[in-house]
Amino acid sequence: MNLKNDDLTKSIKTVGDVFVKDARIKARNVNVFYAEKKAIDEVTIDIGNKEVISFIGPSGCGKSTFLRCFNRMNDTIDICRVEGRITLDEENIYDKNVDVVPLRARIGMVFQKPNPFPKSIFDNVAYGPRIHGLADNKSHLDNIVEMSLKRAGLWNEVSDRLISPGTGLSGGQQQRLCIARAIAVSPEVILMDEPCSALDPIATAKIEELIHELGNDYSIVIVTHSMQQAARVSKRTAYFHLGKLIEVGKTKDIFTRPQHNQTEAYISGKIG
């Protein structure tokens, strides 16, 4: 097989089509530095409308760092510097006039470890709509909370105990609560950073089912170390290595006949 095997120490061209027709997020020539260390190197990629895309790659490859650029989570790290251009619906999210609070409502995030607030189940979900002023009245807020919990597949399990603490739920339920919290503010994109790595197989299956359903309405970017998960949930997969975007393609192509040797070696368990 004629695989492309560029020297990774040199600037490389990503294999596969990084562009999509209906992009919501466009990242162009993005570089990320932690102090002097370059963590992301000239990455260009589109995130399509209502697409589920997985970022995969070995630990330290920069996939989470790159994900966190999309809602400016890296702003919280003093030594982190982002170069290049990232737009959401053609609007530069790194423009000095952009307020990160509404930005993070439009681009929600679910983390590796479920992190419900030390509040009731209801208040966890109601928190975002309250601070963003999305509910006209109590009844409207109740409706948003109910719909969000239903969409997150949690309503039937918690509808009779909404005033109980969110931290009292199981790990899988807490993660779905965090997803309900993210979708309560009507985001356009949901970022998921290894959302199932702390969950058992049943809870993982529920989250994956949820990702399938949410993919009908939102753009979802998921960072995962589980290649089976990437294969199961995403239509497109991007492989990162040493801060570079090596290959992007349809998930079914990446997992059956990747074009780059590095991708081939990683997905078949030969480097990690």
Binding site: M1, A231, T256, R257, P258, A265, I267, S268, G269, G272
Partner: protein, 235 residues
């Protein structure tokens, strides 16, 4: 660039299925070569050996199917590893079927010996068998070296076997029309010729699997076919 798996036991599993497949290929070729030779030499003892040995091929195929199934279930192979396992399972099934044809040719040869057969004019089953045998040898070499160019060459040579089969088919029918007493011999010869033609088809299938293994995609063009026996009305 050749990588080994981080978990070397995965390499061991893949090597094991690969080695068993090569063993099955070698045994299958040996069986076919012997059945063609035995057709010429009429050595009953050797013919019985081929017939009895076929179950060893069946057993080895079972072993390959089981280990391939286990690799898929336990290792979740991807990319070239996935192709390697899937192709091994397919080729193993094909080799087992070729073994069945070698046994069938041997059974029919025994009957022909009882019927005191001689080659019919214009019909050289041995030659057709040897050409098919060469294809078989080449396809095993192609698999061993993952040589997709040789695989394509094998695939293209099936055309000659098809052509030979059509010629022999017409000759045998014609002989039987001329001398009806030849009907029992002719019928078995027809089946033997058809079996060899099918072995060449199976060898061609193996060649296509090798191409897929190496390139990750199937050959898209239609291969030339020349077996017209199902279309011809003997004069």
């Amino acid at each position: 660039m050749e990588h080994k798996h981080i978990d070397s036991s995965f390499d061991n599993d893949l090597n094991k299925i690969n080695n068993n497949l090569l063993k099955l290929g070698t045994l299958g070729l040996d069986q076919f070569e012997k059945c063609i030779n035995n057709f010429g030499t009429q050595n009953l003892k050797e013919i019985d050996k081929v017939i009895a040995f076929d179950e060893k091929l069946d057993e080895l195929d079972d072993k390959i199917q089981k280990s391939g199934f286990e690799i898929i279930a336990l290792r979740s192979p991807r990319a070239i590893d996935l192709r390697r396992v899937i192709v091994a399972l397919k080729i193993s099934t094909i080799l087992e079927r070729i073994g069945d044809y070698s046994r069938n040719i041997s059974n029919r040869t025994k009957v022909l010996i009882e019927l005191n057969y001689t080659d019919l004019p214009g019909v050289n089953i041995g030659k057709m068998g040897q050409k098919t045998q060469q294809m078989f040898e080449d396809v095993l070499e192609s698999y061993t070296n993952e040589d997709d160019k040789l695989a394509i060459k094998v695939r293209n040579s099936d055309f000659k076997i098809d052509k030979m089969h059509t010629e022999y088919y017409l000759e045998i029918i014609s002989s039987m029309q001329r001398n009806k007493k030849l009907a029992p011999i002719g019928t078995h010869l027809l089946f033997i010729a058809k079996n060899i033609e099918r072995v060449a088809d199976y060898v061609t299938d193996i060649a296509e699997q090798i191409y897929f293994l190496v390139n990750g995609k199937m050959l898209s063009d239609h291969r030339p076919k020349a077996d017209e026996t199902s279309l011809k009305i003997p004069e």
